[in-house]
Assembly symmetry: none
Homo-oligomer: 249 residues x 2
Amino acid sequence: MTESLTDQRRLRPRGSNLGRELAEKLRARIIGGEFPPGARLPSETAISDAYGVSRVTVRTAVKLLESQGMVNVRHGSGTYVADFGGQVRTGLQELRSISETIQEMGFTPRMERYRMEQRPATPEEAAKLAIDDGTEVISIQRAILADEIVMAYSYDVIPSSLIPASHVGELGVDSLFRVLDQLGLQPVRALAELHAVNSTEVAWGPSQPESGLYLLLDQVHQDQRGAAVAYSRTYFVEGRFQFMILRTR
Amino acid sequence: MTESLTDQRRLRPRGSNLGRELAEKLRARIIGGEFPPGARLPSETAISDAYGVSRVTVRTAVKLLESQGMVNVRHGSGTYVADFGGQVRTGLQELRSISETIQEMGFTPRMERYRMEQRPATPEEAAKLAIDDGTEVISIQRAILADEIVMAYSYDVIPSSLIPASHVGELGVDSLFRVLDQLGLQPVRALAELHAVNSTEVAWGPSQPESGLYLLLDQVHQDQRGAAVAYSRTYFVEGRFQFMILRTR
DNA sequence: GAGTGGTCTAGACCACGCA
DNA sequence: GCGTGGTCTAGACCACTCA
C-alpha cells in the first residue's frame, strides 16, 4: 500500500478524521465483496501497517464499524464481517446523513420534495426548537429514496432565520445535512425519540407502502454550541431500513 | 492526589477499565455538587495529572460522560457540566435492566410469566445465539408491568446449558438481568435491532392493548467474552415507554 | 505458544476560543 | 498568544483464542 492516509491530511473534509476515513475504506472493501459475511478481516496490526496508521487509529475505525453493526469483534480471535443481508443498516447512536448512509451501503440515494412552505412555528415545534411561539419556520416534506424505493418520509422544520434566501431552493432536494453544512450549521448531535406508527396519512403520492407501518425518529438536531438547528420527524418504512444499536453497560 | 488509579489495577472488577472508573469518580464529584450545572471541569491535562492517568484515558472518561448527557465539551473552551434538570433520562445506548429503568422512573415494576418451556432452538434462534440448530433452550414469555400496567411483552430464549435447574424457577418472575447476574452471566452488551410491529398476536391474556402497535427491540445479549447469553424480542407497547437516544457525530 | 484483540502511556502537533 | 480540547503515533504489556 503506497498510498498513505496521513499524506492526505490537508485534503480531508470537515468533521473527518483518520479513524473515520479508514472505516470508510474498510466498509467499501466489505461492501465490495472482498470480505464477505463471516470473513475475518486482517489483524489490527496488519491493517495498521497496510494503511500507515497507528493501531489506535485502526481500533477507532473498527469500533465505528462495530457500532454500525458491520463487523463483530472477538477477543483473541479476530474481527469478522457481520451478515446484514444486503439491507441498509446503520448504527442509531451515530448521527449521520441518511443519504450518506444509503450511499455507503451501495445504493443510490435521492430526495423528492413534496411540499415546502414558510409559516409560523406550532407551539410544539417552537418548544422543540427552543424558539418563541409563532416564529417563522421553513417546513419541508420530502421522501428519501434508495435505488428509487422510498425508504422514509420526512417532515422537517427549520427556523427561517437560519436559512438565507439563496439556499432555500436546495432544501428538500439536496441532503438536509449538506445544506446545513454549507451554512456552517452542521448538526453535531441530535436528541431522538423513537416510536412505532401505523398511519395512512404519513405517505403521499404513488407507490405508497401498503402496510402504513413506520419507525418514527423524532429528533432535534443541535449544532456545536447546543443550539437547535432543525426538528425532524422521519418516518422509516418498516422493513426497508435496518436500525441497530450496540448497547453497552 | 496521592491515590493513583493505576495502583489499583489488580483490584479492579472485571469489565471495568481506567476510563470507566475515572468517569465514575468524576460523575460522583459532579453529582456531589462540587461541579454544579454550567461549571467547567478542570482541563484534561489537569485531570490527567491529578489522577495519574494518561490524557487518552481522561478523554475516554469524558467521552463517556458526554454520551450520557452529563457534560458538554466545547473545543478550545472547556468541558462543562450539563444541566440535566433533575430528570433521569435513560438512553437506549446504555444497556440496563428494564425493571431497573422502570423503578428509576418512580414506578413499581413487576414481571408476569405467561409461559415457559424447554425445547430445541429454532434455526433463527440458533443463529442469533451462535449455537447449533436444535440445541436445547429455555423459552420464556413474560409481560413487564409498571404500576400494574403492561409496558412490554417479552419473548426470551436462553440456552438451557447456562441455567442450572435451581434457578429455572426464577426465570420470568424476577428480572432476567438479576437471574443472569447471579449466575455470573451478566450481559455487558446487546446488539439490538429496532422495528415497528403491528400485530394482535403479540399480547396475551386480558387487558391487551387496543392498538396492537409495538416498538420491537430485537436483541442478543452478550457476556464479557462476547458469548451470547440470551436472545430477547421485547415488544414495547407504543406510547407507554419512551426511548431516547443521543446521537453524535 | 503464537497470534489476536484490550488497555494504557508519553509525547507530539493541530484547531479552536477567548481575552 | 495562551490554554483548551482534537487527533495521532509508537510502543508496551495484558487477556484471550485456538491449534
